[in-house]
């Protein structure tokens, strides 16, 4: 089955969405991510959507669901790299993605996750 790869980097998980996702692939990613957060005791998730040429209400909802689920599992989520045309379209569509943290690029997104992680004053698990 087709899957979007999830990379582990320290206490964070990285996902780059590079395909025009059909709905089932989006739902699989949602399930895979929650599994991986628990498995790796991840404290943050970075989702790079810089190659996505379109975000419709379904994909927007998936991003929101991932952020909410990650929050419940004690992990922060940052969505990075949204194209300006996608942002314009999303707002006109009526979707402002409230509750989803964003950053302009991967570097800024990682910095935001690291800062949030440091501010919470957590210590890494021994097995991570």
């Amino acid at each position: 089955m087709e899957r979007i790869p999830i990379l582990k980097m320290g206490v964070f998980l990285l996902v780059t969405i590079q395909v025009d996702m059909h709905d089932r692939l989006a739902l699989t990613l949602q399930d895979d991510l929650t599994d991986q957060i628990v498995k790796h005791r991840a404290r943050g998730v970075l989702i790079d959507i810089s190659t996505l040429e379109m975000v419709d209400s379904f994909i927007g909802r998936m991003l929101g669901t991932i952020a909410s689920m990650a929050r419940l599992l004690d992990a922060d989520t940052v969505v990075v790299g949204m194209q300006p045309s996608v942002a314009i379209t999303l707002v006109e569509l009526g979707l402002s993605l409230k509750g989803i943290r964003t950053a302009l690029d991967v570097e800024k997104g990682m910095a935001a996750l690291q800062l949030a992680f440091a501010e919470r004053g957590d210590t890494q698990d021994d097995d991570s």
């Binding site: 709905d23 040429e53 379109m54 209400s57 379904f58 379209t89 006109e92 569509l93 009526g94 979707l95």
Partner: protein, 134 residues
């Protein structure tokens, strides 16, 4: 108004939604839509294709390049023989959802298009037509 080109695509699986998006993108680029207009129209098409699949139980989209003496545009007609919509005003309200979506499909697609027309009859089906002009 003359119709310069047309094709019909079926919408029966989730993969078809992706194919519809790609076809609309291709035509938008060919007509010289700017990136924002391309993205808006592809997104509108994606919302309506999903409605056709999820609420209409599958159907089709008819893609046409239309031309008047003043302008050129793309017209998309989504059609299904599903349960139809009993209350169109309600269905066009932001946030109203009959399923598990966010209820932005119809109202959002209307905002992202230049022209929007809907016909629906309970038990017979739904037809939505959108146009985006260059």
């Amino acid at each position: 108004m003359t119709i310069r080109k047309c094709e019909t695509m079926s919408i029966v699986t989730a993969e078809h939604i992706v194919l519809v998006r790609q076809a609309v993108r291709k035509q938008s680029v060919a007509l010289g839509f700017n990136l924002v207009d391309q993205t808006k129209f592809v997104t509108a098409a994606s919302e309506l294709a999903r409605n056709t699949l999820d609420h209409g139980g599958g159907g089709s989209v008819h893609l046409e390049i239309v031309e008047t003496d003043r302008r050129t545009g793309i017209r998309l007609t989504f059609e299904d023989q599903g349960p139809g919509i009993a209350n169109l005003d309600l269905a066009l309200t932001d946030g109203y959802t009959s399923g598990n979506g966010m209820g932005l499909g119809l109202s959002g697609a209307r905002r992202l298009s230049n022209e929007f027309e809907i016909w629906s009859e309970p038990g017979k089906g739904t037809r939505v037509t959108i146009v985006r002009w260059k």
